[in-house]
Subunit: 348 residues, 2 copies
């Protein structure tokens, strides 16, 4: 599998999005987000999305050269209209607003509506953690998950991310879907001709199945942890869809994309920051040094695997599979770009 | 099983706590909380706790006649010292502070430390929902749960509750432990001589087991949904323990009780309240009217079962098992009270 330096992939992505009409700022913003996803190993949210976004831009669902609009604002909150521009740009700016407000208060909240795919939520929660704040981000999405006990597509995979700064340790980074697995994992199994474990999906009749194809023939994803995951998914839909005005996934109001709700907490307002970080470090140390269950090698702090992957990929490069690279090459060619030359120019 | 009217159980509880030194206000506050737990069917958090609390008061771990102290306060936040008084009193007052602050801002946060058992979290989140606000409450607790992949008691069952107002529908009420089940359920199985499903606990060697006794011989509860529930439990420990200064469950700083973190969101700040409630109603209606999976009779909105139980018990009375009633009678006798006479007097 070919590997690339971070700068190479960013350059390629910037050039492509500029060529489809994005401003330099928008293209850089989206490129940095996608490549960061690749860096930490969430390849499903990385440059593999370029052909999808390209298609959606051509369909007019993402509008380049778009500015967000603050609809309503207080000392500790804002409601932001994304105006159907790039999700990564709107959500980054929404988080910047939330961070600014949390710095002069104890807690802030920002709602974001009419926004296309915002990508990896951990990108935004980490923006807060990098400034010694606690970032919470959640969004709804196109309906593909069933409520607990049902088998209709009424809920999105409705992910939640929380990032919390530590001291010597890397931040706590939670970032997961409220479904058992992301839809992408079912697709991977389907493409590989593999079965999936029972409990991931139901078929169109509501029956348990291990055949990934059933998801794409009217089946549904299931919430993680049964009733509890369903409850969390519903919570996310209400805060991200109903509260922001983006619309709940199952409502006629919902068009596409990710209604988003963000909360930023300023820990220094509650306890001296160094004392807080010391407590978090001690907690992580205790957990890491505790005995593992039979058959388990290591207990992980949420985010630890991602940060480890990032270190490795920064050093060794980011692997991109041939199929993904080819699909990006096709897009680039349509735009009159030679991505292999772009990559080479960065390298030289 | 004998059943009692709400007022009878409140009167009995008030008289007992007054007799052990609580002020009228404290006794009423704790009594209303415990009986509300019975009303909605969470009997494990109801009057069954009276003998435990009585014992703990005698040991000096709960101090009656105690006032909370606000350590630090801003427009949208407070840090509150519970001074080891009744948890139900401190947490109720902390939520009152959070509600007051959210009414004049968009979002508020209150941390509460040095507080004993605060009971059922849904009691506090519902205080917010009853005032058209969104209430979020979480707390840590004595370590009995293992991190995912380990088998040490490092985390509490660390519950989270969220209540959200609806329009015609009753509020959304999420209130659950981040463990697969509460410890109480394992105790019930043990007392009944029943086995428990694999996946609830590990024994002291870290092996899966269906014997409930293993939990009380050095075993651990497991987080719900595996890695995701573990991540949520850790999040709760950090916000409720590290941020408030109560201490994380596994740290030497932690003494007992529930470090607590609360957030209140004012939905009217983001979207007109009626539009918000209408969206929530529509979401619930869509989910309730969707087809059920084979073998399932009904899909429930979080909290629906609890509200149904409350209606029934308000009408038909609250059932209290003989063993629980006898244990309360013993406490009352020690305090020179005849609870059967107290109950009769309310009735007449």
């Amino acid at each position: 599998m070919p590997t690339f330096a971070t700068e190479q992939l960013i350059k390629v992505t910037v050039r492509i999005f500029e060529a489809v009409g994005a401003t330099d700022y928008e293209a850089k913003c989206v490129a940095e987000h996608l490549v960061e996803s690749n860096l930490i190993g969430h390849d499903s949210h990385g440059i593999i999305l370029i052909p999808d976004y390209y298609k959606v831009i051509k369909e007019g669902k993402i509008r380049p050269k778009t500015k967000i609009k603050i609809i309503h604002e207080t000392n500790d909150s804002a409601l932001v209209d994304g105006n159907w521009g790039f999700g990564q740009v709107a959500a980054k700016e929404a988080m910047e607003i939330a961070i600014k407000k949390a710095k002069t208060s104890a807690i802030s909240a920002v709602g974001l509506f009419h926004v296309y795919h915002i990508g990896m939520l951990g990108y935004y929660s980490m923006m807060a953690a990098e400034q010694d704040l606690i970032g919470i981000v959640m969004c709804n999405s196109a309906p593909i998950m069933s409520p607990y006990g049902g088998f209709s597509r009424l809920l999105g995979t409705n992910p939640i991310s929380v990032a919390i700064p530590a001291g010597k340790w890397k931040p706590f980074l939670m970032d997961f879907a409220t479904s058992v697995v992301a839809a992408g994992k079912v697709r991977v199994a389907l493409n590989r001709g593999e079965k999936i474990p029972y409990g991931w999906i139901l078929d169109k009749e509501g029956r348990p199945t291990d055949n990934p194809a059933d998801l794409y023939e009217g089946g549904v994803l299931l919430p993680f942890g049964g009733y509890k995951g369903y409850t969390l998914a519903l919570l996310v839909d209400i805060l991200s869809g109903a509260l922001t005005g983006h619309g709940c996934s199952s409502s006629p109001e919902y068009e596409t994309g990710n209604g988003t709700f963000m909360i930023v907490i300023n820990p220094a307002n509650f306890t001296p920051l160094e004392a807080f970080k010391k407590r978090v470090d001690e907690l992580f140390q205790t957990i890491k040094s505790s005995p593992t269950a039979p058959g388990v090698n290591e207990i992980f702090i949420p985010g630890e695997l991602e940060f480890r992957t990032k270190e490795k990929r920064l050093k060794e490069g980011i692997p991109v599979d041939e199929k993904t690279w080819q699909s990006i090459e096709i897009v680039a060619k349509e735009l009159g770009l030679d991505i292999n030359k772009i990559v080479k120019d960065v390298h030289d």
